[in-house]
Symmetry: D2
Subunit: 310 residues, 4 copies
């Protein structure tokens, strides 16, 4: 309602080429996902997502808390495809007992994914067409969206996303803001009474201008589309260093998340000098670890990491 | 509260060799599963189940409606094993982010399973020991329990089940009753205020004696342990006929559910003469179908089916 | 799906003069209320009801379990009025903070009420007009509807109710059936996918024909509209006896529920000979008790009660 | 986890004289109430609160979204008493049908209340004793707690509150912070796995240090206990001005909220010059309005308001 929020919303609408879009500011990602998904689904519907999707694994059951099942599909490098979704929708429609099953009611994607990978414009277009043909909304979780926009391999602009998705959010928390996510609803009326739903979910920030100020700044002179560049440069350099030193990269991520396989004893020594994420067990003697760079990454720190990794 | 219910409860306690057990009568299976699982779990916990479990697929999201995630494990012939559960529990414990994940809070099994298969006493004992070591309750869905008890391959008695499970239900609806399921809680106090929880779930039958009368009859002279015999005999004969006629049996079910692969054109002709269940697509030209026999199966009907299947 | 259900549905449509009505059979009243109310409300809406309504007090929080608030209005003899509802709706609309409040999304009435009282056709018409003007559905709980239809003071026919309400249910459990309630939705499409919602709520009876058989019988030759007559005659006679013996009647109920004030010592003596309901404390030395007669009431039993009450 | 949070927690424990207390930082009030209440209640329990309580009216059904009923008691100047709670608990216990009712599972108070009034130490002690005798937790919503602590009429210290309540929160959002509430649990183990419950409710702030920094500052040199003083002084002066000018004060609030009755035409003129809250209709020609002062109130602004009110 305040002038900061109004200014930020106007800039976001312009950046997305979505002049009528409704924009709402929420505090965090899990809260945003839980609120949007609960708002888009009927009580008897579930949300289609990759089995590696954030809502499937790391939101402590926030979607189920709202009464909805996550209908998972096996991921490929963190992504799901239009054809997978189509198979699921057809299987539901053709199952003689589908009245006893959870109806698929929307699709959830993350871009970049939890594996740092990207949907291409073609892939997202196919999913969008399928969703529209089946009249189910498409929702894109952009928690790390700035790192997609800053990535040379990405061909999905904000304008594309606004044209192809029914709802999406532009991540602030992981992309330069102290906190905050901007939910964009390109077509007015897609979610009636969303304000009350936000309040019901305990997701309303009393002093909304704190969010407006941050997004107003992030969308001044297209900062948001550039802010991830240092992160991508740092990640690319880490990937180069890892390859040169014989580490196997995983998941083919081109964004700010770098995954590699490391021998366990080496991992333990590394942990004494560097902070990284334990991702998953690879085999009995190896582990997949993750390095995540940010908008604030400095090349000198990356080079120091390089020395440790040698 | 009435004398029919009291008599039925006494007989069930005796049949289960569980003199202190609490027994509650509910109307149907989905309702029973949703009510028991919601009662056993904390708000932040989920239930471990086979991905083919009834609660995972065919209860229209009744578990999620209560706010809980179903944590699925891949089935083997409809079953899950103690070692699979152990891997899941350890993965949860060892995940550095497990505070962001749904805590596994109980185990759900069905016996017979949705594929007609049976847990052995050894398998159930292993699962029970694991659950007790981890202090999570074990719940067994006995919707078709009579067909296990009547099956020569079954080595799990009601007494075993009562000793190994924290809660289980004895199915009436599919086992000779018009409707009704008997929830057995061997140790008093496992679920405080279960009556109110039943009411809250809309699962209380006003005239409870209707359930008491049926279970009193089913547990007179151990009828429940014998009532499934005609179903098993009929199913065995169907399996024999199918094998003799070159159909491939599936899932190795020894109980009243018979699964086989059939060529699609033949399936369509069969459908004109016999009622069977479409189970799932096998390949582009074949389908898996299901025959389910009941306590009321008659051998002459089976022989007529045999002629049709030739 | 079976022929009994189809026949029962046809008879109910005819009795209600609602040829297009959808009819669903559920097992019990709390389950029916929870399922219908959850189906009619958006996730952020609540249901308006009398503070004495069954859903407000005696359903163990089944409505809140579905995520919805009961927005209570003070009753008058168990009823609420169109003007009360209008005040609530206006207060909500005019509250500057109404985005922070639960939106009133439907109206729940019971007829007869929990106090045995009846809405007149004029009262129900006013409420119906108000609801339609505000585009919120009107739902009538007819758990004891047969006792309204059999009551000379009642001027609301099944046809009136079908014309004025968006959804209502015809009670079986308390009106001659062993169990069962028939939900009537006069306009097709009022509740999409209601079948799945019923399943999700654990409210689907596997052998639905058990319900069909009972309602088919209850609606043969308009039995349902007559079955309550003995109950009303018995209740009228009890009211006469009470008045003649100096008891103060309460709540002005003309149906099968009779309420009176009784001195506590006398109540205790009475309890040794007759079964009645303790309703509420009247003052330190008096209590309000309830006698409920049924379709099976016999006049000779009433006369015996009369002797005890002298 | 970070050093700011650790420091803030240590200072809060000291200020509350609760050396073992668990302290959690959440973002906003509705979120905090919904999360704590859901954590304290069993699935079949409800929360006792004043009918004017924030959770009863202005949280958009967030408590019901978690599946719980708010069991309201009529307020007296925004407060409820131990004797009212006792009557409710006894009525529940003595109701023959209480198994069909929502079990009262905790008590919710706000201090200051939504009407700006205060519980005395005696009143809170009585409520606390009653709760402990009945083994139900007592939770205090301190959204505006700083304005109680700064008020001469208040005799409840942080130490008292920590000794008398099972859980309470120290409000930041309305008391000098940009956002944030500090949940205090004096006895470790009162809420197992509260972290996961916070995450499940979407209430976890990714960069928790933002909350830690603010509370660390607010609890340096007992700032929190003094920060409300300018607000109280300003409110006292407004009350004086209003009385001198013939306005009737309402609700007897001694804190930073001032309520008075104003003639409607005058209210409209006032609205052109001053921002105030429309509270509720008083009669057809009068309205109750609210002035809320803050820690940042300046006396010169109050005097300007005084001129407008003359």
């Amino acid at each position: 309602m305040d002038s900061y929020c109004e200014s930020a919303k106007a800039k976001i609408r312009e950046a997305c080429n979505a002049p009528d879009a409704e924009v709402f500011f929420l505090v965090g990602g899990t809260q945003t996902n839980a609120t949007v998904i609960d708002a888009l689904l009927k009580s008897y519907q579930g949300v289609i997502a990759a089995d590696t999707g954030h809502i499937s694994v790391h939101e402590a059951g926030a979607i189920e808390f709202g009464g909805h099942k996550v209908l998972t599909l096996p991921h490929h490098n963190g992504k799901i495809s239009a054809s997978q979704i189509e198979v699921l929708l057809n299987a539901y429609q053709n199952d003689a007992n589908h009245d006893h099953m959870v109806m698929p009611g929307m699709v959830y994607l993350s871009h970049p994914t939890e594996y740092g990978t990207l949907y291409s414009r073609e892939e997202l277009s196919e999913i969008s067409s399928l969703c529209r043909a089946n009249q189910i909304p498409l929702y894109l979780d952009g928690a790390r969206l700035a790192y997609a926009l800053a990535c040379p391999q990405n061909d999905l602009t904000l304008t594309d996303i606004a044209a192809l998705c029914d709802v999406f959010y532009i991540g602030g928390t992981k992309c330069g803001a102290l906190f905050g996510e901007a939910v964009v609803i390109p077509d007015v009326g897609t979610i009636p009474h969303f304000f009350t739903i936000i309040k019901q979910h305990g997701a309303l920030l009393a002093k909304g201008r704190l969010l407006g100020i941050q997004f107003d700044e992030l969308f001044t002179d297209h900062l948001y589309e550039r802010i991830g560049i240092p992160a991508i440069q740092a990640a690319d350099r880490i990937r180069q260093i890892l390859s040169q030193n014989g580490y196997a990269l995983c998941f083919d991520s081109p964004t700010n998340q770098v995954f590699c396989v490391i021998e366990n004893a080496r991992m333990e020594r590394l942990a004494e000098e560097v902070e990284f994420g334990f991702w998953e067990k690879y085999d009995d003697s190896h582990t997949i670890i993750r390095f995540a760079t940010s908008w604030a990454a400095r090349m000198e720190d990356v080079e120091m990491l390089g020395k440790v990794l040698e």
